[in-house]
Every structure is written in C-alpha cells, then in structure tokens.
C-alpha cells in the first residue's frame, strides 16, 4: 500500500483555510479587474501545453492531469 506522508496534507489544509477565511464578498459588477486578460488562469494555452509536454518528457512528476494523450516521449 502507498505511504502517504503527513506533510502531503499540510498544503491542502492551508489552501482550504485560505479559501474559507480569506475571501470577502465581491459583487458581480466589482469583477472587472478579475476579468482582465492578464488575470486569466489559462493564458497562451498552446504555449502552456507545449511546456508541460516538454517537462513531461524529462521529469517523473508530470502527466497526472485530466486530459490524457501526449504520447510516449521516449527520447
């Protein structure tokens, strides 16, 4: 059976507590800044796909996304 170390959970707890405590209500008309292109979570998607493909062919901790594909990278 896999051994999950304790500190694996720590960042998750921090993240969750940030989510639950750190937010103030933001009305829909106050979200203009959040909608700016530079604030988008996914920018230059093709370039990001390319980078993760390169990292994935050279590092062990890649993949694990939810889309699949990418080939063998056996070089």
């Amino acid at each position: 059976m896999p051994k999950l170390r304790c500190y694996f959970l720590l960042p998750m707890l921090i993240a969750m507590s940030l989510v639950l405590s750190g937010c103030s209500p933001v009305a829909p008309w106050q979200r203009g800044t959040l909608a700016k292109p530079e604030m988008a979570a996914s920018r230059s998607e093709l370039a990001a796909t390319m980078r993760s493909h390169n990292y994935g062919s050279r590092e062990a901790a890649s993949g694990s996304g939810s889309s699949g594909g990418g080939g063998c990278g056996c070089y």
């Binding site: 999950l4 829909p28 959040l34 979570a41 996914s42 230059s44 063998c72």
Partner: protein, 897 residues
C-alpha cells in the same frame, strides 16, 4: 455615426459576467478562436567525459493547431492537432567510465588529421576489473594500474527522425451556472499509440465566486517498439521474452498500459483583485511502463574467482524493468493577484507530487503578465522543480554471480553435453581418470560424441525485481526561465513569441543528494504562435455598418478558386488583413514507373541506380507528404498585397527489396521494413501580388512575384544502424530546396452570374547553382485552368485541369564519411535505392481537380471561408524510375478582416 462610448472596465465587467468560470482551466467557457503554434526544442550535448561528443543532441520540431467554435447557442466544440518530429542522440544506458562504452567516430580531414565527428555506443559485452569490494578499477593503455574509478557516464544512441501526431476534441454543453465537457483523442507514433477519453464538469456556486471542477480520464496505450538493431545483440531481454516477437529481421517488444486519472478542483474569488485555485489529482497506471529503449548496465561478477584482490566482471546491458503499477497523487495550488500599480498580474503556482515508486516532487512557478501600451503583453516566468529518485533507480548494477557459468550436478561434477545437440537431455561427465562417462557411470566412446560444458545463465532472481537508469527517475532539480511577448496586430489577430531555457542538474535537487554531474543537461525552446479570435471579428463590427459582415465580401470578388490554387485572390481595399491556413496531403504509391510505362523489378534492378555497378536493391513502396501552410496577407494599397507564407512539412515512406536481388551478405544492411519519417519547418515564401487590371468586376488579372527562403532542412541524415554509419536521407525526404527560389505567377479570373472561371501559369526558378548539401532541385513550370459554379448562396463546386513539369535534380549529396563495421569509409550516403539517385526525380504530370468551396455569410462564423479539392492524376511521365502517384487533397480556411 459615432457609437456610444463604453468604458473599458465596464466592458470587461460585462465580459466577466458573460463568462462563467472564467478562471478554470479544464472547463472554460471559451471564445471562438483559431490558433497555430510552432516550437523548436533543442537539447544541449551530453558530457561523455573521455570521449569528445559531436553528435547532434535531441531536437524536436512541433506544430500545434487548435480551433474552438460555438456549434449552437450553448454547444461548444474544440479540436486540437499537434505533431512533433524529433531526432538526435540520447542516453540509452549509463555505464562505469572504465567500460569505455562510447566509441569516438572519427573523420579524416585535409592535412592527414583525423577529427572526432560523433560517438557510437558499444554496449557490447566487455570485461572490467574490480577490487574485492566490487569497485571498478582503471588501467591505462599499457595496462598500468591507475586506481579505483567510480565515475559513470551516459552511453548515447542516435535516433533517426520520427514523428508523432495527435488529434483530440472536446464537446461541451453550457448551462448558466454549470458545464459538462466530454472529449477524446488519439496519439500515434511508429512505436506507440495512445487513445484517451475524458469527461469534465464545472459547477459555479455562490454567485460564481466559487467554482468546482471534477474530471475523469482514461488512457490506453500500446507500445510496439523495434529493439535497437545495433544494441539488440548485446541486450539481455530475459524479463521480456514473452513480450518480444520476431518480425523478419527485427525484434519487436510489445506492451500495453492503462491510466485512469481523476481530479477535483476548486477556485475561489478572494477579493476584487485576487483569486485562488486548488486542485487534487490522482492517477493510477498499470501495465508496461518501461521505456523500451532504455537499458541498465549490469556488471556480473562471480565472487569465487581465483586471485586475491582483483575480480573480473562481465558488463552486460539489460532492458530496464519497472513495476507494473503506479499510483500518483498531485496537489496544486495557484494564486492570482492583480498588481494595480503596474496594471499587471502575478501568478504563482505550487505543485506537490508523490507516487508509489518513491518519487516525490515539488514544482514552483511564477509568472508576471505585464501589458504594455495597450497592444503588447510581456510575460517573464520562472520555474523550479525538484524530485527524489525512484526506489529502483540506479546508474548501474553489480550482481554477485557469473553471467554464464558451467553447470554442475549435485555432487559438484561439471556437466557435459553433446556439442551438436546440446538440448537432447543427455548428460556426460568425466571420471577421476578423465574418461567420458554417461549419467549411469558407463564409459562413452569419445569418437562417437564430441562434448562441450553445459552452461547456465545468470539467475534473474538474484537481481532486483525492478531497475532503471533512466535519468527521469533519478534525483535532480531543474531551473527554467523564459519570456513570452504577445502583440495584438489588428482586431482579432495577435502574434506571440516565446523563449525558455531549462537546466537539469543533480546539484539543484532540493536538500542535496542528487545524481552526479555526468547526467546534467539543458535545453531551450523557442515558439511562435498566431491567434485569430473569431468572436472579436464579429463583435467588432462597426455600428451603422448595415451589412454586418460586408467587410470581407470583397475578398471573394471573382468567385472562389479551387482550394489547390495558390495566389488566386487579391484583397482590393487598403489596410485589409487576411489570415488563412492551407493543408495539402499527397500520396505516392502503387507501381514503379519508367517514363510513363510500368517498370519491372528486373529493369529497375539493372538500370534504376545509374552509377551503382551492382544495380538497385530497393525501391519505395509509398511516400506520403503533408504540408501545413499559413497565409498571412496584408494590403498596403488597393493594387498591392503582401503575403508571408511559412510552411511545416512532414513525410513518411517505406522501402521494399526488389525481386531478384542477390541474397545479402552476412551483416549487410537491408533497409526494408521499418520506414522513415522526417518533419519540420519547410521553406518560407514571401510574395507581392500586383493588380494588373480589374475590368468592371468581370475580368481580373494579377501578377505575383515571390521569393522562397531556404528555411527547410536539406541535411537530414539517417541514424547509425547495423554497426554502419549512414548519410543523407534521400532528396524527396528533405524538407526544403536549400536554395533561394524565385516564384512568379500570373493569374486571370472572371465571373458572370453564378459562374466563375480562371487560369494561372506559375513557375519556380532556383536562384543558386546548388544548395549546402551539394544538389539543386529542378525548376518547375505549372499551368492550370478552372471553372466554378455557385450551387447556392454559400456553396460552389469547381473542376480544373493542371499540367506541371519539373526538371530532374542536378548535382548530388556531398559525400558523408563514416564508420562501417569499424572501418572508415569516404562516403556512406545510401546508394542502393532508386530514390538515392538525382536522375530519378521530376517529370511531367497531368491532373484533374474536383473541389468545393463554402463561404459563411452569417452566424458566429460569418466571414470564414473553407475549400477542399481532390487532385486526381490523369497521366504521369517521370524522369528515370519513380513510384506512380496516388492523388492529393488540399484544404483551405481563410478569414479576412
């Protein structure tokens, strides 16, 4: 009439409201857009410590294209296509330095000197000396003992170009506060095929301040790898015998793996200027997860050797062995903060990864997105990655047993067997007087049987269950940094260029203890992209523009020309921009021709390879070529259009042996079976189109003057195989002409009612005597004429005739020196196949084309046009000996602004 002025912030707010789940990556509500990207990955040379390394490291050319469109009000569709072509030298195993596993490949140069031009792996059986603690010992050339040497080194192997292609899609339905997407795709390469499907859901809560994402994916991948022919003899494949099939001269290793992935994410708006994302992912992988091209070096040492302090070890390479199961967890947190002072955004990302192979990894990434002067965006980024080694990672192994030893029976006697039939089950022994006896102790007449000692192979159970020397599984750290620059060119069109440098080093591992510096390397990636936002094309229509999309109608003045005709249209309004994409695929296959008649194998054998006394051995069975072209067109005035046309090509082909070819000599290389592939950037065209006359929209004539720049490679070589270096892959598989070419054309078109017609003559004139590889492609002349009829308000059909003539190649490839079976040859360029000869190129061709063109006049995709044309060969008259043609298909898309 002036439109009501709307503040940019208000516009963005409206956009934010219209786009639910704006910040979620997997399941995002997207605007309709089309993207293209080219990237080049170039790795640094590996340090081979004692052997100079001049071999080309891994390089990868990649092309990406994607389209996102709204099919119906709430139905979204996305399609992605990508292809990579790679080649170069990469580690196959790691060995103690004293094994001297990298052999220098040398070349004679003027003045009688020799220089090292490459390295070739010898993972052949070698013996090394070890001390009693099993540490390798070093000696100089004269056998003088130098001391212990614990250094290890990568052993490199070079790969010929190979191509991977992937197509995938996503179909989604969006509700006001939720969305569901399902997708799938396939990735295909010669030795690996992967099919995958996924489903993702998004749910907005709390007035869209909180968004939940859930995803599930399944991937099924088959490996079917030809074991490196050079290495195969020396590889020990004991663990995979039931996965290896003999297919002709090749050994093929097959395996299957399956991956189930799931992820759950939450994104939360923190305040007006920040939001946070957290994601947890779990993936379970089972099956064959080895890299079929990686081996682990094992030093077999029999501890019971005579002698006191020194032992002899047999160095062998075993195919790597990985566990058949792997569970992986990843936890990701991202923080996105707007920086008001600079009108910029800071994105920070951390990821923790852990799996059941013993690997844990941390990734930190930061990106600063800085808009500059409304149309520019500069994005510097930095990333740090660190991982522990897998439990079973080892540079190499030492096993305390002989690789092969003499079998003994229970009483310690050496077993002998019949040399002619060692597996007949009969055992012999020597008695105390050295007489040959059988297992019952009866004397055997030695003139009736000749015996040899029975040998037993090593016991695999004494090796670890799993081992790998793949540096992806070692302990290391990596730092990378780069910058991306984006420029909005016009409404809806932007271009982007990026660069990243990556450095991998054992010393960069978090907390130290990483792999030795022998494994360090780096790479850089450069990319360029073009983005066409179809939504802004429509949204940007000026108020008061009565026809809505009238802006592009002028583009199709003169009727649609068939998809296979280039430079057929001009834009006749100053400052107009057009972006287009052209795809062309041609198939060559079928019978071999000599002139316009079918050629027999016997006649090709005798005459197909003009300068080779022994005649031809091989002919191609097929050759496929695909071209992807981008058209970027701009009209500085109403009578002049400027056009830039970058191209990306890929090609595949295979060969067969001619009937009647003499049997190959032992060790001679027969090429048939595996096929070859090349791919990458082709030549880049630059054109000026000049309107000559435009007669009351009925007759139109324009001249195109073009220059083609030699950006495509003409120096692609085949990898070293079968202990023999090989030179250039044949002319037809090179990606460009290698010369500056002049490309003029004259186009006439006319239109009356539903009918339109046209004619074009065009040519390609090489402007140099020969290219850098020593040859010159023939000049080309083409003429074509077509007629087209409009079937309804958006669709038209076309028929055309085409004649083209291309001269044969002049000159030939420069000689390539290389090593064949350890001997230096002046020229190792392939010469056994008809395609290796310049005289077997060019010819005269007659074709008919049948096409359809669609012009979309309303709806979200208004302004886009599509065309497709099938080109059917009618007659072919080739120079020399060539394969017959099978037809070609062209497809185009264009949008004008």
């Amino acid at each position: 009439m002036a439109a009501t002025k709307i503040s940019p912030l208000h516009a963005l707010t409206v956009a934010a409201l219209a786009l639910p789940g704006l910040w979620t990556a997997d399941c995002q509500a997207e605007e309709d857009e089309i993207n293209f990207q080219y990237s080049r990955y170039q790795e640094s040379r590996r340090n081979l410590i004692k052997t100079p390394n001049h071999s080309t490291p891994i390089e990868v050319d990649s092309l990406f294209g994607s389209a996102k469109v709204t099919l119906a009000d709430r139905v979204k569709f996305a399609f992605n296509y990508s292809q990579d072509t790679w080649s170069g030298a990469t580690p196959i195993t790691v060995a103690p330095l004293v094994v001297e596993a990298n052999q220098a490949v040398i070349k004679n140069v003027k003045g009688g000197k020799t220089v090292v031009v490459g390295a070739s792996p010898i993972i052949a059986s070698r013996q090394i000396t070890l001390n009693k603690n099993l540490k390798p010992l070093a000696f100089n050339k004269n056998g003088k003992f130098l001391g212990k040497d614990l250094r290890v080194v990568n052993v490199l192997s070079t790969a010929s170009p190979e191509t991977r292609k992937q197509g995938d899609f996503k179909l989604g339905y969006e509700w006001d506060e939720a969305a569901l997407y399902a997708g799938g795709g396939i990735s295909v390469e010669n030795d690996y095929e992967s099919r995958f499907g996924n489903i993702n859901g998004r749910w907005d809560l709390n007035q869209k301040l909180t968004t939940l994402n859930l995803g599930l994916s399944y991937t099924n991948s088959d490996t079917s790898a030809i074991i490196d022919h050079d290495a195969s003899t020396y590889l020990t494949k004991t663990a995979f015998l039931n996965q290896i099939e003999n297919q002709g001269a090749y050994q093929v290793l097959t395996g299957n793996r399956q991956d189930w992935g799931s992820n759950f994410g939450i994104s939360q708006v923190l305040n007006k200027e920040a939001f946070l994302e957290a994601n947890v992912a779990y993936t379970r992988s089972t099956g064959y997860m080895e890299n079929p091209y990686k081996a682990t070096t094992v030093v077999f040492v029999d501890p019971e050797q005579p002698g006191i302090n020194r032992l002899i070890g047999d160095v062998k390479a075993l195919l790597e062995q990985r566990p058949d199961e792997r569970d992986q967890w990843a936890l990701t947190g991202s923080y996105h903060q707007y920086i008001g002072l600079f009108d910029a955004a800071l994105h920070f990302n951390y990821r923790y990864f852990q799996d059941t192979w013993g690997i844990s990894a941390h990734t930190f990434e930061a990106e600063w997105v800085q808009p500059i002067a409304t149309t520019w965006t500069l994005t510097p980024r930095i990333r740090y990655y660190s991982q522990d080694a897998a439990d079973f990672y080892t540079p190499y192994l030492t096993s305390k047993q002989a690789f092969v030893s003499i079998a003994k029976d229970s009483s310690g006697r050496e077993i002998l067997v019949d040399a002619k039939n060692p597996n007949n089950g009969i055992q012999y022994f020597r008695d105390d007087n050295y007489n040959l006896i059988d297992s019952n102790g009866n004397l055997v007449n030695e003139s009736t049987v000749s015996t040899i000692p029975k040998t037993v192979a090593f016991d695999p159970k004494k090796l670890p269950a799993n081992f790998s020397s793949d540096q992806r599984l070692s302990a290391f750290g990596a730092i990378s940094g780069g910058v991306n620059l984006k420029k909005q060119i016009t409404k809806g069109v932007s271009v982007e260029a990026g660069f990243e440098y990556y450095t991998h080093a054992g010393a960069l591992k978090l907390g130290g203890g990483g792999e030795g510096s022998y494994a360090d390397f780096g790479y850089y990636v450069a990319n360029a992209a073009l983005n066409v936002n179809l939504a802004s094309l429509n949204a940007g229509t000026k108020p008061g523009d009565h026809a809505g999309h009238s802006a592009h109608h002028h583009y199709h003045q003169g009727g649609a020309a068939p998809a296979g005709v280039m430079f057929a249209h001009m834009m006749n309004k100053a400052d107009d921009v057009m972006v287009g994409y052209r795809f062309m695929h041609s198939h060559t296959g079928g019978k071999m021709l000599n002139g316009d008649a079918i050629a027999s194998d016997a006649s090709i054998l005798a005459n197909g390879c003009v300068t080779r006394k022994a005649g031809c051995k091989m002919v191609p069975t097929y050759m496929d070529m695909s071209m992807h072209m981008l058209d970027i067109m701009y009209a500085p005035t109403d009578w002049l259009n400027l056009m830039l046309m970058p191209q990306f090509m890929d090609m595949q082909m295979n060969l067969r042996q001619l009937d009647g070819t003499p049997a190959p000599k032992l060790g001679e290389h027969i090429h048939a079976g595996t096929g070859h592939a090349t791919g990458g950037i082709g030549d880049t065209g630059m054109y000026a189109m000049i309107k000559l006359f435009d007669l009351s929209s009925l007759h139109h004539l324009h001249l195109t003057l073009g220059l083609s720049a030699p950006t495509g490679d003409v120096d692609i070589t085949l990898r070293r195989t079968h202990k023999a270096d090989e030179g250039f892959i044949h002319y037809g598989m090179q990606l460009g002409s290698g010369t500056w070419d002049f490309k003029p054309s004259l186009t006439y078109s006319g239109q009356l009612g539903d009918w339109s017609w046209g004619a074009q003559i065009s040519g390609t004139k090489r402007l140099e005597d020969k290219n850098a590889s020593g040859y010159l492609l023939g000049d080309i002349f083409e003429s074509t004429a077509w007629g087209s009829y409009r079937l309804n308000h958006w669709l038209s059909a076309s028929v055309r005739g085409l004649y083209s003539d291309q001269s044969a190649i002049s000159g030939e490839f420069n000689p390539t020196p290389g090593l064949v079976n350890g001997r230096l040859r002046k020229n190792v360029n392939p010469n056994t196949s008809s395609v290796d000869y310049a005289s077997n190129y060019g010819g005269r061709y007659w074709d008919m084309g049948f096409g359809l063109n669609a012009q979309i006049n309303n709806g979200d995709l208004a302004g886009n046009s599509f065309g497709v044309e099938w080109l059917q060969p009618i007659a072919t008259d080739v120079n020399g000996y060539q394969l017959d043609r099978g037809g070609a298909i062209s497809a185009t898309w264009a949008v004008a602004f």
